[in-house]
Point group: C2
Chain length 476, copies 2
């Protein structure tokens, strides 16, 4: 038995060190571990004692085993996780996302706000008013309609970025903003740093621009690890960093203002441009609007991208970019790509913002989304396997779930879709293998009975997949 | 004198052979040639007689000298004009175009239809109806709203391209359509063939995608020379051809159906994808809607791009693409670039098309634009230097003007802009030097007294520049 328990201990050590257990969270129960590795309860118990003696895990009375505080503290300095530039292979989940609006699936993974959460009546009024202004709606407006650019500049000023309309360019959503920023800053084959996990649209943008990616993990807690970022900027020639410093998708984490300043300094030192995606910044769960990186930026190196797709309406495609010192090249990209954005949506959004009900709407939505996230987190922690880890978002409506074990996530994804349940598997958010054990859950829709049932459904599929794998292990 | 008249004859020969004189049009008068080359009337007369004896030019009674029919016939087989792949340098006119809508210049060069030529009242009604459908306007619709895709498919079927809504993807104007097609088909450094002169947006797209361009000239009469196209496809690895087969911008020329079929065959033989831009196809001046290439395409190799920016409104940004067999990769490009187009504009355009007034509007506009073009052509031929050549458009509202001599077009352009007159200098439409002697004139706005005066103003500046150059030549 000597060899066996040591070998199992090695496996459990790897599980703890390579995973989000390092963020905390109970590791699987003795019984589950025994099933997984196809060994006896006695062997597992011996293995856990060995790991405890090595300081890898620690027992907590009547609860179970956790990664030790030594391991937690060592995470960022661990060289096991040094990032390397990677080419982006084809992502098999792209099609499902693209055709999502044609399905009537339970939108557990969708980051699109439910229509009932949008300011329907007010925006209809603004659209009607805009529709009457034909002399404006029928014309080209590059870089945007004056009223829209000016309304955006006022909002930017309110969140600490003193701006004028002439600093802003209207875009079709934040995705186009990020895309034209990347296109302006990079050439084919260049390397761009992103957080891991990251919003899938960033991976798509890098993929079609033929760029290399360096993924910077987001542990211990935050949208991005600053130690690893610094390591990466020193070791690779990185053209730009794409990051959401506030309520980032999919973790929901924000950086502290101090960390934001450090991030800016790290990038400045290595001449890395920062592309900030702040689409969730307005839906913070705390007391105050978190500061955008752009507000701490003194030399125009932060390119701020945002939209109203999460707060007013995705269908208006009302986004914008504040390109800082990259204004000219980014303006050219926008103009050459599709000349200008439609006028009526800009006029309507400016009208809506001028009505002054946006902040009231935001206050309401923050509470709703926070409540949804709490409910869903509790459901996941209750039904998913022991040792499942959920992030605690600082804002937005999505959170990131890490399972204690690898499962066949693609199979579960396909099966769930056939049952009209849509969730977002981890491989959409990162090229790193460890994301295969993760998923994003979204509270962008009401937590209906259907949604609750689908969490249980997923929990069952995960349990099944996990036992099927354990069985396979035993059989071999 | 012997040597002198022979040397001058060589210069005049070069002028005729290297220029649009080969398309016909009177060459400059004896007096003007004498001024240009700083020689006597006698020398010019001797030079012209020599060229006449060589069959380069021919005299027409009481009118003057023209390129001989032999030269006209020889144009396409001339190997002097073999195209070569070129990298696109920065185009200095980009900014002026981009900021055009902020000027209040006489829009002699603008290809944007005047607001008064748009179906203002009807589109306002459609926008108002669309604005009331909040449950649709606030949502994402990829690849487009069902009603829009289906309305486009019906129109495509009407012009000979049997289509279903599922063949179509909504885009922000035709520029985005061309751009995503190019992005899907090419990699950095690849070579793309375009007509010369071409719509500037194509040059911009190639520039930001870092592509090489092969320019295919448009003489003798048509949007593109098929002989040169065939030569280019045989000699270079060309990934795609961007072409407007109907009422092409800036020449206004269309290919015959026979030539369209030849073009398709040439491209098929060398596996060159065809990106067809048909934005002016609906504004033909003849009796019947000219056939799009796509209608003659039997194997899905033609990617059809168009929009309503020339006919309904530029500000709606309502375009589309029928990607044929490239559907999947082009759909991914669109989705990754900016997810979807706004819903309200699509809903409004579908509503407008369903009202059935679009064709009535088109019939009216075709007459208006044809009348404007005729008036402007007559004004240019009357006021511009002798030997100026204007294309005779088959449709649209722009035509292409070639001066008999080189002038400092950039200086004239800047001077005119200071006088609030905007015209489109030839260098916007081509990287070839000969375009420097050309300009595009547009009848997209009413031919007001201001417009008429600005033609005279330009004629005067051109005359001045021409004499200044002649003077410089004499001085040296």
């Amino acid at each position: 038995m000597d060899r066996k328990y040591q070998a199992v201990a090695e496996k459990i050590k790897k599980l703890v060190m390579d995973s989000d257990y390092r963020l905390g969270g109970k590791i699987p129960s003795i019984r589950d571990l025994a099933l997984t590795y196809g060994v006896s309860i006695t062997t597992i118990t011996a293995a856990l004692r060995l790991l405890e003696s090595q300081g890898i895990i620690e027992a907590r009375d009547r609860v179970g085993y956790f990664a030790s505080s030594r391991v937690l503290g060592a995470v960022d300095r661990s060289r096991e996780h040094e990032p390397v530039p990677t080419n982006l292979a084809d992502n098999t989940f792209i099609r499902d996302l693209a055709t999502l609006n044609q399905n009537h699936a339970v939108p557990l993974g969708s980051a699109i706000p439910a229509n009932e959460y949008l300011p329907n009546r007010q925006i209809q009024k603004s659209l009607l008013r805009a529709a009457r202004r034909t002399s404006e709606t029928l014309s080209y407006w590059f870089p945007g309609t004056p009223a829209y650019l000016s309304a955006i500049a006022r909002r930017m000023s309110n969140i600490g970025v003193n701006s004028r309309g002439s600093d802003i360019i209207a875009t079709n959503g934040a995705q186009e903003a990020v895309m034209i920023a990347l296109a302006a800053l990079t050439n084919k084959g260049d390397t761009v740093a992103i957080a891991s996990p990251s919003y899938p649209g960033i991976l798509h943008a890098l993929q079609i621009l033929d760029l290399q990616v360096v993924e910077i993990p987001c542990f211990p807690h935050g949208p991005i690890s600053l130690d690893t970022l610094e390591f990466a900027t020193r070791n690779f020639e990185i053209k730009a960093l794409c990051v959401s410093a506030n309520c980032s998708n999919p973790t929901g984490y924000s950086l502290s203002d101090e960390d934001k300043q450090s991030l800016i300094n790290i990038c400045k030192k290595s001449d890395v441009a920062i592309i900030e995606d702040d689409v969730y910044g307005d839906i913070f769960h705390g007391k105050a609007r978190p500061t955008p990186l752009k507000a701490l930026d003194t030399d125009g190196n932060v390119i701020y991208c945002s939209s109203f797709s999460k707060t007013i309406s995705p269908g208006l495609r009302a986004g914008w970019i504040h390109p800082g010192r990259y204004y000219q090249s980014i303006a050219n990209q926008k103009y050459f790509f599709n000349l200008a954005c439609p006028a009526i949506t800009q006029i309507a959004v400016a009208d809506f913002l001028d009505c002054g009900t946006y902040d009231l709407h935001l206050r309401k939505m923050r509470k709703v989304y926070q409540r949804n996230v709490n409910m869903l987190r509790n459901l996941v922690l209750r039904h998913f396997p022991e040792g499942t880890h959920c992030t605690v978002p600082d804002g937005g409506y999505v959170f990131w779930v890490t399972l204690p074990f690898a499962v066949d996530m693609e199979k579960i994804y396909e099966e769930a879709l056939r049952h009209r349940i849509y969730f977002a598997p981890g491989s959409m958010f990162s090229v790193s293998k460890s994301a295969g054990r993760c998923l994003r859950v979204s509270g962008s829709n009401p937590v209906s009975t259907k949604v609750k049932d689908s969490i249980k459904y997923l929990a069952d599929r995960i349990e099944e997949s996990f036992h099927a794998r354990s069985h396979d292990c035993q059989a071999h």
